[in-house]
Symmetry: C3
Subunit: 442 residues, 3 copies
Amino acid sequence: MTDSSLWRRLDTRFDELWPIMRSITGPGFRDSLKILQKEMPLTIESIPSGTEVFDWEIPPEWLITEARLTGPDQQVYADLDDSNLAVINYSAPVDQYLTLAELEPHLYSTPTLPEATPYVTSYYEQNWGFCLPQTVRDSLPAGEYHAKIDSEFDHDGRLNWGHCVLEGDTDAEVLLSTYLCHPSLANNELSGPLAMMALYHEINWWEDRRYTYRFVVVPETIGSLAYLRAYGDHLQEHLVAGAVLTCLGGPHEGISYKLSRDGSSLLDAVMRYMNDLSGDSSVTIRPFDVSGSDERQYCSPGFNLPVGQFARTVYGEYAEYHTSADDKSFMSISAVRESAENIASSLALLERGGKFKSIVQYGEPMMSKRQLYPTINAPDTDTREHDAKAEQSDIKIVNMMRLINFSDNQNPLVNVASKYSMQPNEFITLVDYLKKNGLINH
Amino acid sequence: MTDSSLWRRLDTRFDELWPIMRSITGPGFRDSLKILQKEMPLTIESIPSGTEVFDWEIPPEWLITEARLTGPDQQVYADLDDSNLAVINYSAPVDQYLTLAELEPHLYSTPTLPEATPYVTSYYEQNWGFCLPQTVRDSLPAGEYHAKIDSEFDHDGRLNWGHCVLEGDTDAEVLLSTYLCHPSLANNELSGPLAMMALYHEINWWEDRRYTYRFVVVPETIGSLAYLRAYGDHLQEHLVAGAVLTCLGGPHEGISYKLSRDGSSLLDAVMRYMNDLSGDSSVTIRPFDVSGSDERQYCSPGFNLPVGQFARTVYGEYAEYHTSADDKSFMSISAVRESAENIASSLALLERGGKFKSIVQYGEPMMSKRQLYPTINAPDTDTREHDAKAEQSDIKIVNMMRLINFSDNQNPLVNVASKYSMQPNEFITLVDYLKKNGLINH
Amino acid sequence: MTDSSLWRRLDTRFDELWPIMRSITGPGFRDSLKILQKEMPLTIESIPSGTEVFDWEIPPEWLITEARLTGPDQQVYADLDDSNLAVINYSAPVDQYLTLAELEPHLYSTPTLPEATPYVTSYYEQNWGFCLPQTVRDSLPAGEYHAKIDSEFDHDGRLNWGHCVLEGDTDAEVLLSTYLCHPSLANNELSGPLAMMALYHEINWWEDRRYTYRFVVVPETIGSLAYLRAYGDHLQEHLVAGAVLTCLGGPHEGISYKLSRDGSSLLDAVMRYMNDLSGDSSVTIRPFDVSGSDERQYCSPGFNLPVGQFARTVYGEYAEYHTSADDKSFMSISAVRESAENIASSLALLERGGKFKSIVQYGEPMMSKRQLYPTINAPDTDTREHDAKAEQSDIKIVNMMRLINFSDNQNPLVNVASKYSMQPNEFITLVDYLKKNGLINH
């Protein structure tokens, strides 16, 4: 990812996406998908409100135009015009005068981050409420407040998603999925779509692809459920690996990968290999668990898809999570870039890490007739050319023969690389070399 | 097992069973089964002497009325009227005058416990002999002894066993098997039947049972072989787990479980889970081995049934084993009660530890529409209700979702409980809650 | 292997084999096979030059009569008459006058062992060259040299191998394979055939054999490929285990075993058992890898045969490897003898380590009716015969019952021996005892 102009452009995309009032349905989500379309050819699809989706139902579309809490002193204490987080996402309409005591159950703040506004949602039960900083809440005067929320639920609405595919040499697929429903949140929202756009460009640049890559942008939970309703059978048939992209721009270092439910996907093996090699903490592995993002749906027992999750500064590990403090001062574009580069490196290993078949299955291939081997067997003799380079080449020949020996369509090559502690760069070089020279299949 | 009257009653059963002269066949065994019938509806069945049972043959019934060793001083040195252990169990009849030297090969004592009379048997080869304390043996005067044993082998006799079944929701079975052939021995004999009677009452009290429970009382070895001849095919078809009950009333703490031959039964998994959690030594695990009790037959290679063994103070771990010192002063009713309670706890986990199926296999179940989930997603916000209780409930929701996610009819839930270190009580509560609310099958 | 006359004879065989100018083809190889025929009934077979063998082709036969490098001072600096290593094995003919500078690319020496002549080959690409000690090379005067090699490539030639079989009770086979192509090299050449001749005698002496033993002598690499072309299907059908014999006479202690590709052969299990028991370093295990000898071909992915490798002082672990210093002063006959004895011990365990079937699958066998068990069950009682011997016998009975319990045609008995830490001698005694008494199958 040496195209630094890409990242200047994605910085602009962030600024375009940030102010849009999004939810799991509605015009904000559609407008946001259109901004993503500037970078990747997403097809936008939809499903009507009220449709049953497994155990769930697509909610009505939510439209909001105004949300304002005015105090007895006529001061405005929470206003959608000032912050997309000021109102509970999916608030029902209200136009009511209440005392402070009556208002209290409808107020949300975060005592541990007293200057921040929390992000609160109530998609599946009608509620209304305002979110505001703890400091503001503590200063609210007694008296009568005016709570005004002008919102609407459109039962003829739709829920949308976008997706696109980069075809590979095979129809075995890798899924990259992210979500786009949270308004004005950075690490736990826009970092995912930003990383996905970068990965789309990167994978599109690759000279060849063994796998077909599927990029999916949904509203969280209900969106992945809807996507599974439409494409679950296809994914069950074709998926070899996948990951949800979330929380990729925070202050932590390196990349954190959450294993798929079975812990046995090809990407799981690749990430374990990277983790084993890294020694340091630049690649960390988290076990599968039911808390998380859309992998909860992809990994529900009936689907049990080989889908993990990439993150960097993980939900639950930072105080700013789901508050207005999760903004561009917390999430940096450069951190998202590092995450995208780390994921791209993982996918490069994934491309070489699967099962291959050596063209010579019986006996070793004769390397010298292919000029791939020294023709004179004279180890350690003084040929006046012996140097460090020769030694390096010895190592490469051994690792090359190891990869050939296990190219039996049964052992994923990443396990061979891992078993023999090959460096990722050498592993990639060798697999490409073997493919290019026709010693293993494509 | 809060019914303390049960244990007063079982104490009485012990006293009724203790004085009966039992062997692997004969009226003593039948009379003992009848005492057990006061507590559990045992069906008594039999097989004729001389019947071939796999590699064995049912021996003739043994009847004994008198056994007395009288010294040259007319003193009686061993007498069946004083102790059921005074004569070799299955002794042939004898009426003979011998010198002390001639008598010696027919005498048995225990030098390491000089005051105790050993328990000696010779079921499958005709012998005769007397058992007496080492102190008595050392004091025997020279001279002529009268050895008188009035016994009989009835080739038209039978070998008996008793069994009964508590039906469950499924015909998958759990076997509890114990033996009843040793006369006047406490830890290594009556503790097993006592624990079984208590467990019968306990399991009978359960509101519902997933598994069908089979209670079997046999003479050791030849009895389990005969039972397998009659019911081996049935057990091979239905058994999911089982255990032999033996040595459950000694001075050790906690419960000791011996794994089944394959080490992969559901009860094996439950006991490993309890052992992992306990940290201390209250649940210990022993590997499978060929020394032991009737699990040797249940786990013979052709049957290879998933049968382990529960014990507390194990044979070979105490000097009083197979001597008159293994009496009620060594075995306590309260220890047997603790054992039965420990086993009941294990079986309660077994009931919840198997494979279940979530009613929602595709996607997560929607919890909020079932009022099983908070409807407003506002973590860490000040709703003026946040307290320790809420945090506890969070944990329960995560564990509930974990159990749902792995209710796929493939993963025994005990492995999920173990993987996520759930406390047994919480695990039981959650599984019952999920069943009651129809989220997983019964 | 108490027949010490055997080892005096094998010492003679060494001296007969040492001076023969061998290569992968040609009269030297055939003559060497004939010397081996004095000890084992090898059938000699062949394949014509030019035949395709998997990815390879049988090279023309190489005939050499003269190779001499004469200096400007008429001194002879390398001469086939003095050393079989003086000329590159498979050198093309040459009769040329060159300056020292022109000669240099055709000279081979070993700086790290300046007094030794290296062993250099160029089978598959035409080259010519001389090998000489570094000290000689450093003293070469300037001037014109005469390089004279009188060799010939016979395209109507053949490549040879020898093999023979010792039939066992079953047609399940154990392969022992060694190579014979290097001239005048001791540890890394003649130690293998010497050990094989000794093992042939040893296995021939055994009273009975469960497995059929196949002894194979080939030229390295191309020879095992040719053998696989002829017998690969047979080996795939019948082989249960096998090993290449190489480097068995060096100064190291004990035996080193390289696992087969899958690491799951019966011999792999036996060697792991010996390694676990030995505690010390007398049995070491090496992982499978692609560097090595003919196991590279046997373990190519299409064959994936259960073939490991026995060695003692392994290639790459000693400086004298592939030089004239690998002679009888480096390799000792007594070390080869120790190796052969170690391998024979392993094969004795292999014979007992496989899957057996107890004649009694349902229930335990009744031991007392076979007089294989005490008829009176009176543990720890004073029968005036209790001694250490009885205790020992107790242990044997338990291990005997363990072996019977797992004689289910599924568990290799070596795993049972390993699990219960049986001593190899006891294990062998018990298995033979069970077979002799008809308790398990042959």
